[in-house]
Amino acid sequence: MRQEWERQQQLQQRLEHGIQEHIPEVRLQGAAAPRLPNTTNVAFAGVEGEALMMSLDLHGVALSTGSACSSGSLEPSHVLCAMGVPAAYLHGALRCSLGRVTTLADIDYVLEILPGIVQQARALAPSLMS
């Protein structure tokens, strides 16, 4: 159990450091807080989480978003709101879950494709704005 905890924690750190290193304007929610090693909530400014989720899905990566349009409600996550997450990030959240079957290669694959997916989604967004 402890061994698996530590293994997932290492994967989580690799994922989070990789995202921060390769993608500008990201927020890792609760990064400094004690938390589970298998869940990362990361938000990207100026994009919508569900669009990222669908692009990742097309690349064979399954994850979720707590964001607006993916659930019955249009409103952003009340938890992220309560945490004081800035407005630009509120709709761009992804929830990445690791598990026993997640490997280092899986993490590296996500780090390989995610920067391009975020960049593409940002290129589609109106530049802010007159």
Partner: protein, 121 residues
């Protein structure tokens, strides 16, 4: 959320992405609740829309709605474009689920806002 094949196809290959430089009509509209923002710009000659480009920050349906909107507008007169509604956008997308119908409303808002400004010039 289930999407039609048409929505998926427009999401993967959006048409007419961008902003027309010194456009004849343009608008940026948004839905504050879900955070979607759509920008539409039009080239108009002799009261006919000769080019349309869009940008969207939003979910896959909102991106597809902007993309299909440009296709519905190009080649049509301003008069015809003013009659375009969310219903035609929804139909052109192969039918949106109830929780995504608001993206077709955003597309209608965009064309109305752009053409309102155009008429007021």
């Amino acid at each position: 959320v289930q999407y039609s094949d048409i929505v998926q196809e427009h999401f993967e290959h959006p048409r007419n992405v961008g902003v027309i430089a010194s456009a004849d009509a343009e608008a940026v509209v948004s839905n504050p609740a879900c955070g979607d923002v759509m920008q539409l710009s039009l080239r108009i000659a002799n009261d006919r829309i000769t080019d349309a480009k869009f940008k969207t920050m939003g979910c896959p349906a909102a991106i597809a709605a902007g993309s299909v909107l440009t296709e519905l507008l190009i080649g049509h007169s301003v008069e015809e474009a003013l009659k375009l509604t969310r219903v035609e956008v929804n139909t052109a997308l192969g039918g949106l689920s109830p929780q995504k119908v608001h993206t077709s409303v955003l597309a209608e808002d965009a064309v109305r806002a752009a053409l309102k400004k155009y008429r007021q010039r």
